[in-house]
């Protein structure tokens, strides 16, 4: 009887141990800017590389350097066209590029995505009677953008069952809104290859 009790207790303890291992994954913080090669899908490191390359290229382009030495031009960003088969948050890519450019102190940006909130606020200031008319913001005083950033991302994928190869190409253009001329353009190419192992994992 006692032996049976001990056996049951051991089996129970074993079951608890096993289930404990299975239900408690090891979680740890990682380095946000490190390269990750989990798959050939578009990844955070691809996004960071693209943003970094685009910003570096724009900052050293001689005609742009000449302009930014004199003044801080006003830019706006168009949505990047995603021509890949994947879901890519292109707004996140342009957000990173815009943030880095603002941080240089050489560019100013207009953000059209928050216009409705701005209109609501200015309307309240003008019409609610709560705000001193001398300090209330006036309509029609905003500065227009001189340049617009446009671009697209495309991919070419090849897979023969053993090797999967994905090529990404990100293109960004800076268009002068007055003249229509593309003042600057840059490309970032990324190639990722995954090889399936014949044996094991």
């Amino acid at each position: 009887m006692q032996e049976k009790f001990v056996k049951t207790a051991l089996v129970g303890l074993f079951a608890v141990t096993i289930s404990g291992c299975a239900s408690a994954p090891v979680v740890k913080y990682g380095e946000a800017t490190s390269m990750q090669t989990v798959s050939t899908d578009f990844s955070s490191s691809d996004l960071q590389q693209i943003a970094s390359t685009m910003v570096d290229s724009l900052l050293v382009f001689p005609p742009i350097v000449e302009v930014t030495n004199q003044r801080r031009p006003v830019l706006t960003v168009d949505q990047i066209k995603n021509k890949t088969m994947q879901h890519i948050d292109t707004e996140s890519v342009t957000d990173s590029i815009r943030t880095k450019l603002i941080q240089t102190g050489k560019f100013r940006f207009i953000d059209r995505t928050t216009d409705q909130a701005a209109v609501n606020e200015v309307t309240t200031q003008q019409d609610s009677g709560l705000v001193d008319k001398n300090t209330a913001v006036q309509f029609g005083k905003q500065i227009g953008a001189e340049y617009i950033l446009t671009g697209n991302i495309s991919e070419i994928e090849q897979d023969n069952g053993k090797v999967s190869d994905v090529y990404y190409k990100f293109t960004l253009n800076l268009k002068n809104l007055t003249t229509g001329i593309l003042e600057w353009s840059a490309e970032k190419e990324i190639r990722k290859t995954a090889m399936r192992r014949t044996f094991g994992g």
């Binding site: 800017t33 490190s34 390269m35 590389q49 050293v60 240089t104 102190g105």
Partner: protein, 145 residues
């Protein structure tokens, strides 16, 4: 096989090159990769320092040149590297930026970038400072995790 894993585990920081400049361009820093550190001072206004945390990686890659130029008021870093290994070498590198007081600027700004060097291949790496306060840069090279 265990030996390789152990080596990979201890090369986290890999090769680290530190460049300090006061608006001057410099070049000519080289190392065999077996030396623990190297300081080159071509003039009084610029200095370079090489710190090797991982001799195993340093024996496979050589830093040929370090240059700093300015585009407008932004520092541009140029680094030439050569593989001394006879097969493909996958590493990653990252620029770090410092102001005139040696304080790091935008510590999380620059991502790790992949770099593949085929046997004996030389490549030039370039980075642009995130803003005009940057006067020094550092490049870190490590194995791809």
């Amino acid at each position: 096989m265990k030996n390789i894993i152990t080596i990979r585990g201890c090369i986290y920081l890999g090769l680290l090159v530190f460049v300090s400049t006061a608006g001057m361009s410099l070049s000519g820093c080289g190392t065999s990769g077996t030396m623990a550190s190297l300081t080159v001072q071509p003039n009084n206004q610029a200095s370079t320092r090489l710190i090797i945390n991982n001799p195993f990686l340093a024996s496979k890659i050589r830093v040929d040149s370090l240059q700093a130029s300015f585009s407008g008021d932004l520092l541009v870093a140029h680094v030439g590297v050569t593989s001394t290994h006879n097969s493909a070498l996958d590493v990653q590198y990252k620029f770090r930026w410092y102001d005139s007081q040696g304080i790091e600027v935008a510590p999380d700004g620059a991502p790790w970038q992949p770099l593949t060097l085929y046997g004996g291949e030389s490549k030039g790496l370039q980075g642009v400072a995130p803003n005009p306060t940057v006067k020094e840069f550092k490049i870190e090279i490590r194995y791809t995790q």
